[in-house]
C-alpha cells in the first residue's frame, strides 16, 4: 500500500467524520425535521444520532479482530471472493449515487442563491473539478483539508448564534405534548442527515493508531450532533416549526433575518465559505470509493489512483445531472437515506453475523 499518501491520524479522523456528515443537508435539516416532529425537532436530532453511533461501534468492533482491517480484504474473507467483490462494488456504487445527490443539492443552492442564470452542468463541473483536484492528491491532503475546513465551518455556522437573542422561546413549548409517531418520523429523517459515517468502513485501515479510532469517531460524532442541534434550535427559535415549512433552505434565510453592517448580506458571505464545506463529504467519500476500487481491482495506487478518481468523479457528474428538478432530487435524497441505513447499519450487522458463524472456520483472526 502506498502508505505515504494514505495515512491519517486519529485526530484527523475526528475532522473527517465531521466532514463526511455535515454537508448541504444541514441547510434544510430544520425544515425536514420540523415537518414531522414539529417543535420536537431538536429531540429528533438527538434520537437520530443513535444510528451513526451504533454504526461506528459495529464497524470498529468488526475490524478489531482482523490483522489487516481493510474493507476489501475483510469483506472477501467473510463473504468469499465473489460475494465480497459484489459488496464492495455495491458499496462504491452507493457512494457514487449518494454523493451525486449531495453535490446536486449543493449545485442547486449555488444556482438559487449565487448564479441564477448559469446552467447547472457548469456549476457541477466547477464543484467537481475542485473535488477531483483535492481527491487526486490523496488521503493525506483530504484529511488536512478536512482539518482546516472544519474551523472555517465552525466560524461559518457559529455566526447564527448572534440571532439567539431575537428568538422566541415559546416555539419549544409545550414539552408535555409529545407526538410520538411524528417524533419517530422526524428521527428517521434525521438518520439520513448523519449519512457519511460509512466512510469509516474504508478509512479504518488508513488510520495509523487503530486503538484510538473509536474515541476519535465518537468525538467527531458528538461535534456533528452539537452542530446539528445548534442549527435546529436556532432555526426553531427564529422561525418556528410552521414558518420553516415555507422555506427550502431555512438556515440560509435565517442568516438574512438580521442586517449586519458592512457585510450587508450574511447569507451570501456564508455561501462564499460554504464551498469547502458543502463539497467536503464528496471529497471524503470520493476518496473512499476510489481507494476501494483501486484495492479491489488490485491496481497500483500510484499509477491508477488518479484515473479511478477521475472515473468516480465523472460518474458522480453524470448521475448528478440526471434529476430534472429539486423535487426529484429530494426524493432521490430520501431514497439515498434509506440506502444509508442499509449500508451503515445493515452491512456491519451482516458482517458480524457472518463472522460469528464462520468463527474458527477461516483463518482470519489475529492469532493465525
Amino acid at each position: 500500500m502506498d502508505k505515504d499518501r494514505f495515512e491519517i491520524t486519529p485526530k484527523q479522523l475526528v475532522f473527517l467524520v465531521v466532514g463526511s456528515e455535515v454537508a448541504t443537508g444541514i441547510l434544510s435539516l430544520p425544515r425536514v425535521l420540523s415537518a414531522e416532529a414539529g417543535h420536537y425537532a431538536w429531540l429528533a436530532v438527538i434520537l437520530g444520532v443513535t444510528v451513526p453511533v451504533l454504526s461506528i461501534y459495529f464497524i470498529v468492533s468488526l475490524y478489531k479482530d482482523f490483522s489487516e482491517p481493510d474493507f476489501i480484504k475483510v469483506s472477501q474473507l467473510l463473504f468469499g471472493r465473489f460475494l465480497g467483490f459484489v459488496i464492495v462494488v455495491l458499496f462504491s456504487a452507493y457512494i457514487v449515487f449518494f454523493q451525486s445527490i449531495v453535490i446536486r443539492i449543493f449545485a442547486e443552492i449555488t444556482k438559487t442563491f449565487l448564479l441564477p442564470r448559469t446552467p447547472i452542468f457548469v456549476i457541477l463541473f466547477l464543484i467537481l473539478f475542485s473535488v477531483y483536484y483535492a481527491v487526486s492528491k490523496g488521503a493525506k491532503t483530504v484529511a488536512r483539508l478536512n482539518e482546516i475546513l472544519f474551523w472555517i465551518l465552525l466560524v461559518d455556522l457559529l455566526v447564527i448564534i448572534i440571532l439567539i437573542p431575537q428568538g422566541d422561546w415559546t416555539a419549544f413549548l409545550p414539552l408535555n405534548e409529545l407526538n410520538v409517531t411524528g417524533l419517530l418520523k422526524g428521527a428517521k429523517e434525521s438518520f439520513y442527515s448523519y449519512a457519511g459515517i460509512e466512510f469509516l468502513f474504508v478509512a479504518y485501515v488508513m488510520v495509523n493508531r487503530k486503538e484510538k479510532i473509536l474515541k476519535a469517531a465518537f468525538t467527531g460524532q458528538l461535534i456533528v450532533l452539537l452542530l446539528y442541534l445548534m442549527v435546529v434550535v436556532v432555526s426553531l427559535l427564529i422561525l418556528g416549526p410552521k414558518s420553516l415549512q415555507y422555506l427550502i433552505w431555512p438556515v440560509l434565510d435565517l442568516l438574512s433575518v438580521r442586517q449586519i453592517a458592512v457585510l450587508e448580506r450574511l447569507e451570501i458571505v456564508f455561501l462564499v465559505f460554504w464551498l469547502g464545506i458543502g463539497a467536503r463529504p464528496v471529497l471524503n467519500l470520493n476518496l473512499a470509493s476510489a481507494y476501494s476500487i483501486c484495492r479491489l481491482l488490485k491496481l497500483d495506487n500510484r499509477k491508477y489512483y488518479i484515473w479511478v478518481t477521475l472515473l468516480v468523479v465523472l460518474a458522480i457528474y453524470i448521475i448528478a445531472l440526471i434529476p430534472d428538478n429539486l423535487v426529484v432530487v429530494f426524493k432521490l435524497a430520501d431514497f439515498a437515506g434509506s440506502m444509508f441505513l442499509l449500508i451503515s447499519l445493515g452491512l456491519p450487522v451482516l458482517c458480524h453475523i457472518v463472522k460469528f458463524f464462520r468463527k474458527g472456520r477461516i483463518g482470519y483472526e489475529k492469532a493465525s
Binding site: L114, L115, T118, I123, S130, A134, K137, I148
Partner: protein
C-alpha cells in the same frame, strides 16, 4: 505528494551513478618522466592562456626538475612565491635520495618541505587537470609519478554588507557574500556547537560548484539529511548557478508558483533555522542560503519578528497575512461584487461606484485587467531600471497614469484604489518569490471571479488552499501548522509567543531533540 513512476526511474539512475563513480586512480597513472607529463599537459597549456606554469629545479645535490602549473588570478601569488617555490628551490634537499629512492622525495616534500596548510597527492591526469581548473597549484616532478596539489586559492570577493532585501531595523547587519567559505565561517562564528556539521559537495559536471550542506547533527532529522544529501548527489548537470538552481533541482513540486524552500542572506537567520532542526544549503556563487524544509508560514515571517516585542510581531504578522489575502483576492473580489453580487456593497457606496463606472466603456473585468497589465509593466520597468530612474517611473506611473486614466475614461476611480492597494499589499510580503507567486495567483482569481462571480472566487480559494495543503517541502507538510494542525506550533504562526515560553522546537519540522530551552530559566 505525487511520485508515480519516479522511484523506478530513480533506481535506474542510481545504478548509472554507481558505475560512473568507480575509482579511476590506478587506471591512468601519471608517467614518471617530466617531459612525458608535460606532453600530456601541453595541449591545455596552449589552449588556455590563463593557465600558466614555470619550470624549476629542486634545491640540493640532485637537480630534479619540476614544473608548477596554476591558473592566473586564482591563487595567492605571494604565497606561491614565498611558501612554495622558495621552499622547493632552496630547502628541498634530497640528501637521502640515492638511498631511499624517489618515493622518499615526494614524501619529504609533502611532509617536511612545503609550509602550506593544505596539500594533497594527485595520481592521475584527470584529477591533475581538474585540480588545476579548480584553482589549485600543481607541482610535478621529474622521475616521480605523483603530483602535488596545493591549495593557496585566493579570490576577490565583496565585503560583508547588510543584505538589501532583508534589512532589519534592529539586530545584526551582516549578510552572506558569494564565497561559500566566507559564508560558512560566518555561520560557524555564531554557532560554535561541535555538532554543527558542514558537508562539502561538488555539484555541476563542468562548473564544479562548491556546495555546502549544514545541519546540527543531534537536532536535525537524519532522514531528511539523508534525503537531501541523496538528492544533491543525484544532481547530474553540467552546471549550476548557485542555490537558486539547487532549489529547483531538489524540490518535490515543480508545477507550483509557490517557493518551497526559503532563502536568506542573513547568517543570524541561518543560525536560528539550524537550531530549529532545519538543514541549510549554500553554494558558491550566490549569497542565498537555502533553508530546508520550509513551511508556508515561514515565508510570511521576517527576521525582525523575533527581535521585536511579541505583541508588535504579532501585529506585523497579522498584516502580512492580510497582505497576502488582499494581494491574491482584492481585484477578484472587486469583479465579483461589481458584476455579480452588487447587493453585497452598501447602497451609498454602490451608487458612487456606479457613477464612477458610468463613463468607462469597458466591462469591469477588462477594466481590472487593463489596470493590472499597466501596473505589472510599471513593476517590471522599475525593477530593471537603475534606482533613480526607477523611482521616476514609479512616480510617473503612479500619479500621471492613474489620474490620466480616470480623466480619459479608461478607468473608474475605485479601480485605481483597488489596484494600488493590491500592489502595495503584494510588496508587503517579505519573500520575493511569494511576491511573484501572489501575482500569478491573483490573475487566476481574477479569471475565476470574472466567470463565476463570488462563487468562482470561492472555488479559486478552495483550489488555492488545496494546492497549498498538498504541497510538501522535503516531506514536511507545507501548510503546517494550520493543516495538518500542529497545535504546539501555533504559538509561532500568526502569533508570536514569548521567547521564554517557546521551550520546544517546532514539531512541524521533524527532529531529534525537542527541547530548546529549559523551562526553569527566564
Amino acid at each position: 505528494m505525487f511520485i508515480f513512476g519516479k522511484k523506478k526511474k530513480d533506481k535506474d539512475k542510481e545504478k548509472n551513478l554507481s558505475k560512473a563513480a568507480l575509482p579511476a586512480e590506478s587506471a591512468y597513472k601519471l608517467p614518471l618522466k617530466l617531459e612525458e607529463k608535460m606532453e600530456l599537459i601541453q595541449p591545455y597549456l596552449i589552449k588556455n592562456d590563463d593557465m600558466v606554469g614555470r619550470p624549476f629545479c629542486l634545491g640540493g645535490e640532485h637537480e630534479i626538475k619540476g614544473y608548477v602549473i596554476h591558473l592566473e588570478g586564482m591563487i595567492d601569488n605571494i604565497s606561491l612565491q614565498q611558501d612554495v617555490l622558495r621552499s622547493l628551490m632552496f630547502y628541498a634537499c634530497g640528501e637521502e635520495l640515492n638511498k631511499r629512492g624517489t618515493d622518499y622525495l615526494i614524501d619529504h616534500i609533502y611532509k617536511n618541505c612545503l609550509n602550506v596548510s593544505q596539500i594533497e597527492k594527485v595520481y592521475n591526469l584527470d584529477n591533475l587537470l581538474q585540480a588545476v581548473f579548480d584553482g589549485f597549484v600543481i607541482l610535478i616532478f621529474d622521475g616521480i609519478s605523483e603530483a602535488l596539489k596545493i591549495d593557496i586559492r585566493k579570490t576577490d570577493r565583496r565585503g560583508i554588507e547588510e543584505p538589501d532585501l532583508e534589512r532589519a531595523l534592529r539586530g545584526a547587519k551582516e549578510g552572506f557574500v558569494e564565497n561559500v567559505i566566507v559564508n560558512t565561517a560566518l555561520v560557524r562564528r555564531r554557532l560554535r556547537d561541535t555538532n554543527l556539521v558542514i558537508e562539502k559537495l561538488i555539484i555541476g559536471r563542468r562548473t564544479r560548484t562548491d556546495v555546502v550542506l549544514m545541519y546540527i547533527e543531534d537536532i536535525a532529522d537524519p532522514e531528511i539529511v539523508i534525503n537531501v544529501r541523496d538528492k544533491l548527489n543525484r544532481i547530474d548537470m553540467d552546471g549550476i548557478l548557485g542555490t537558486e538552481y539547487i532549489e529547483q533541482l531538489i524540490e518535490d513540486h515543480h508545477y507550483t508558483p509557490f517557493p518551497q524552500f526559503k532563502t536568506t542572506e542573513r547568517p543570524d537567520k541561518v543560525m536560528m533555522e539550524l537550531l530549529e532542526g532545519r538543514i541549510v544549503i549554500m553554494a558558491d556563487g550566490s549569497p542565498d542560503a537555502l533553508i530546508i524544509p520550509s513551511v508556508f508560514n515561514s515565508f510570511l515571517q521576517a527576521s525582525e519578528d523575533y527581535i521585536e516585542r511579541p505583541v508588535i510581531s504579532f501585529y506585523n504578522r497579522l498584516f502580512r497575512y492580510l497582505a497576502f489575502i488582499l494581494a491574491v483576492s482584492l481585484p477578484a473580489l472587486y469583479i465579483a461584487l461589481l458584476s455579480f453580487n452588487p447587493e453585497l456593497i452598501p447602497v451609498q457606496l454602490l451608487i458612487t461606484l456606479a457613477q464612477g463606472r458610468d463613463k468607462v466603456p469597458f466591462p469591469v473585468v477588462l477594466e481590472v485587467m487593463i489596470q493590472e497589465v499597466i501596473i505589472q509593466l510599471v513593476i517590471e520597468t522599475g525593477l530593471r531600471l537603475p534606482v533613480p530612474m526607477g523611482q521616476t517611473i514609479g512616480v510617473v506611473a503612479g500619479i500621471v497614469l492613474g489620474q490620466a486614466a480616470i480623466t480619459a475614461g479608461l478607468a473608474s476611480p475605485a479601480i485605481i484604489i483597488i489596484i494600488a492597494v493590491t500592489t502595495i499589499s503584494t510588496f508587503a510580503l517579505p519573500n520575493s518569490t511569494l511576491v511573484m507567486a501572489s501575482r500569478i495567483v491573483r490573475i487566476f482569481m481574477i479569471l475565476m471571479a470574472a466567470a463565476f462571480g463570488i462563487f468562482g472566487f470561492s472555488v479559486g480559494w478552495f483550489l488555492l488552499l488545496t494546492h497549498l495543503i498538498s504541497l510538501e517541502s522535503m516531506g514536511v507538510p507545507y501548510f503546517s501548522p494550520y493543516a495538518p494542525m500542529r497545535y504546539p506550533d501555533l504559538k509561532d504562526s500568526i502569533l508570536r509567543g514569548f521567547i521564554s515560553k517557546m521551550t520546544k522546537r517546532p514539531v512541524s519540522i521533524p527532529g531529534q531533540n525537542p527541547v530548546r530551552k529549559r523551562e526553569t530559566d527566564g
